[in-house]
Amino acid sequence: VTKADRIADNLNAGLHALLAKDDSVYFLGEDISDPYGGAFSVSKGLSSRFRGRVLSTPLSENAIMGVANGLALAGDKVIVEVMFGDFALLAADQLVNFAAKSVSMYGTRRAMPVIVRCPVGGGRGYGPTHSQSVQKHFIGVPDLAVYELTPFHDCLALLEEMLAREEPCLLFEDKKLYGARRWDTAGDELFRFGFAGAGFGQAWLAGAPPDESDCVVISTGGTAPLVLEAMRTLFLRDEIQCRLLVPARLHPFDLESIEPVLAACGRVVVVEESVAGGTWGAEVAARIYDRLWPELRSQVGLVHSRSSVIPAAPHLERDVLVQADTVCARVREAVRD
C-alpha cells in the first residue's frame, strides 16, 4: 500500500482549508491556541492564522457548546474541539436539548451548522474517564448526526459534508488513528479499496466480489485497522474472504446503499470499540434484520469491548478493549453457521 499523509495532518489541513475558504467558520475549544495547538496537536496553526475566529476557551464544555449554538443561531458555522470525547457528556444539554432540537422545534427547519470533534477510544492507558467510546450515547437523537473519522475518508470533504447537513454533527476521532497514515490508493496485495455508491460514501476493502465473500464486516473508522489485521489473518490462515465496509456517518446509518452487498454475502459482523450494551452495532443489526432477514445466512455478529470501565494499566485495558482476535473469532463463528 502506498499511504498518504498522517491522519492528524490530514484533519489539520482540512480545518485550515475550511477556515480559509469560509469566513463565517469559527473554531472553539480548550487549549487549542498555538503554540500548543490542542491536546492532540490537531488544531496547530489555526489560532495564528485565523485570529478572532479561533478561540481558546475556559474549561467549560457546556458553555463552549452553548457559544457555538449562539454563533450558529446568528448565521455562523462552528467547529468545536472537545479535548476528550468523554467530556462531550458535559456538553450534552447544549448538544441534545438546544443544537439538535433547534433544527426543528421552532416549527420550520433552522440551520444549525455545528461540528463537535471528539477524540475517543482507549489503547493509550489514559484510564476510565479519558478512554471511552461514547458514540452510542448520542445515537438516535433527532437532527443530530454522528460521524467517525476513518483511515480512508479525506477530512476536508468530511467536514464539508457535515456542515452541508446544516444540523449539529458529532465527529468522533479514534486517538489511535491520529498518528496512522491515511489510505488513498487503489488497495494492496490482498485487498482492493474504494468507496461504495456514487461520490463520497462508505469505504470498502475486499479481496473478492460480494457474492464470493464469506463475510461482510461493518466497522467504525476507529476499529477499521484492527479489522484489517483480522481480515489478513482470516485470509492467510483460514482462507476466509472478508469484505470491510467503513461508514464515515454512523447515524443516521446508510443501509440502503449497501443492502445489495449484504444480501449477496448473507453474513454480517459489526465491529466497534464501545463497551457492550446499547451499542451502535445493535442499532445497525436491528435495521439489517428489518430489511434483510430472508437473505441472512447467519445471525448478525456484534463485536465490541467488554461491559467495563476502561482500565489504565495496559494489560487490563487490553483485556477489556476489542482486539483483532475477537473479530477473527466472531467471523469464524459466523462463517461456520
Binding site: 478572532g52 478561540l55 476557551t57 475556559p58 467549560s60 457546556n62 458553555a63 463552549i64 457548546m65 452553548g66 457559544v67 457555538a68 449554538n69 449562539g70 454563533l71 450558529a72 443561531l73 446568528a74 448565521g75 455562523d76 444539554d93 447544549q94 436539548n97 438546544f98 432540537k101 433547534s102 426543528s104 422545534m105 421552532y106 416549527g107 420550520t108 427547519r109 433552522r110
Partner: protein
C-alpha cells in the same frame, strides 16, 4: 427581597404613556385569559404565567432595537408580547392552532421569531446568548443580546461558565434577572447562598438592582447602563426585585394565602389603577376586548399542521 419591596410600597406611580399601559395590560389579560382557558380545559400541557412581572419587558423593550437578540425562558409570554404584540400568534402556538408562531411544535416555552428565541431548560440560554453576542460584536456592533433568567436559574452551572466568557470576551450581553423570590416552589433563601450581586461582582461584571415597578422609572434607571453595553463596555446584569403573583405553572402554588396577599400589595397594577383610575379603566377595557377577540378568533381555527423536514 421583602425589605426592599417594603421600602418600595407606598411610592406613587408616575403616569405612563397610553401605549405602555396598553402593553402592560395586554400581557396581564393574556396571562389571566390563559389561566381561564386552562381551567376550562382548553389548553394542553403546561404554561408559566408572568403575572406581576409584566413591567419588566415592557420597560426594557423600549431600550432595545429590533436588531437586538432577546433570549427568553419558560416564563416568556410577556417577553414575546412586549416585543411583538402578536397575541393571536402566541395564543395559537399555545393552543396548537393554525397561525401559530412555531406551528405548535414549540408551545409555550419554545418560540423563535426573528431575533427572539425562547427555550425551556434553565441556564441553557446564557451560553447561547454569549455566542450570539460574540457574533454581534464582529458583525453588528451596535446590537446587543438580552437574556431573561430567573433567580432559580442561578443554580445552574452554565450561568457561571457563560458569565466568565462574557466578561473575558467583553461581549454585548445584558442578563436580565427577574428575581421573584421563588423558584417554582422553593424560596430564594433556600436555593441561593450569597446573592446575584455578589456572584456578578465575582466576575467583575456590572450589576444594576431595580426595585421599582414603575415603567418610567425603570427605563430611566436602566437606560444609561444598557447604552453602555451597546457602546462596547461589556456585559451587564440587571436584577429586578419582582413578584410572581400567580402559580409557577398552573394550580401549583404552595404559598399560603397571606403570603400571596402581601405580594399583591406590591403589584404595579393595583397601585396604578388607584393612581390613574380613568386612564386605567379605559386601557383595561380596550385590552380586555383585544383578548376576547383573540381568544374567539384562535379557538375557531383548525389545528396547526407541521411537516417535519
Amino acid at each position: 427581597v421583602t425589605s426592599v419591596l417594603g421600602r418600595r410600597a407606598g411610592v406613587a406611580p408616575t403616569r405612563l404613556a397610553d401605549e405602555d399601559l396598553d402593553r402592560l395590560l395586554l400581557i396581564r389579560r393574556f396571562e389571566e385569559q390563559l389561566l381561564e382557558l386552562f381551567a376550562a380545559g382548553q389548553v394542553s400541557g403546561t404554561t408559566h404565567t408572568c403575572l406581576g412581572q409584566e413591567y419588566v419587558p415592557v420597560a426594557l423593550e423600549a431600550l432595545l432595537d429590533p436588531n437586538d437578540y432577546v433570549f427568553s425562558n419558560h416564563r416568556g409570554h410577556g417577553h414575546y408580547l412586549a416585543r411583538f404584540r402578536d397575541v393571536n400568534g402566541l395564543l395559537a402556538e399555545i393552543l396548537g392552532r393554525e397561525g401559530a408562531v412555531c406551528n405548535g411544535v414549540g408551545g409555550s416555552q419554545h418560540v423563535l421569531r426573528g431575533r427572539f428565541v425562547s427555550t425551556g431548560v434553565q441556564g441553557e440560554s446564557l451560553p447561547v446568548a454569549v455566542g450570539t453576542a460574540l457574533h454581534l460584536k464582529r458583525h453588528d456592533p451596535a446590537a446587543i443580546a438580552v437574556a431573561y433568567v430567573g433567580d432559580g436559574t442561578w443554580g445552574e452551572g452554565g450561568v457561571y461558565e457563560a458569565l466568565n466568557m462574557a466578561k473575558l470576551w467583553s461581549v454585548p450581553l445584558v442578563v436580565v434577572v427577574e428575581n421573584n423570590g421563588i423558584a417554582q416552589s422553593t424560596p430564594t433563601r433556600l436555593h441561593m447562598a450569597g446573592s446575584v450581586a455578589g456572584r456578578t461582582a465575582a466576575f467583575g461584571i456590572d450589576h444594576l438592582l431595580v426595585s421599582s415597578t414603575d415603567v418610567n422609572l425603570v427605563r430611566r434607571q436602566a437606560d444609561a447602563p444598557v447604552r453602555k453595553v451597546r457602546q462596547g463596555a461589556g456585559p451587564l446584569v440587571v436584577e429586578f426585585e419582582t413578584v410572581r403573583l400567580g402559580p409557577h405553572s398552573k394550580g401549583d402554588d404552595t404559598r399560603d394565602r397571606d403570603e400571596v396577599h402581601s405580594l399583591q400589595q406590591h403589584d404595579w397594577c393595583g397601585a396604578y389603577e388607584k393612581a390613574f383610575p380613568e386612564q386605567f379603566a379605559s386601557a383595561a377595557a380596550g385590552q380586555t376586548a383585544v383578548l376576547a377577540a383573540a381568544v374567539a378568533d384562535v379557538l375557531a381555527r383548525p389545528p396547526s399542521s407541521w411537516r417535519h423536514l
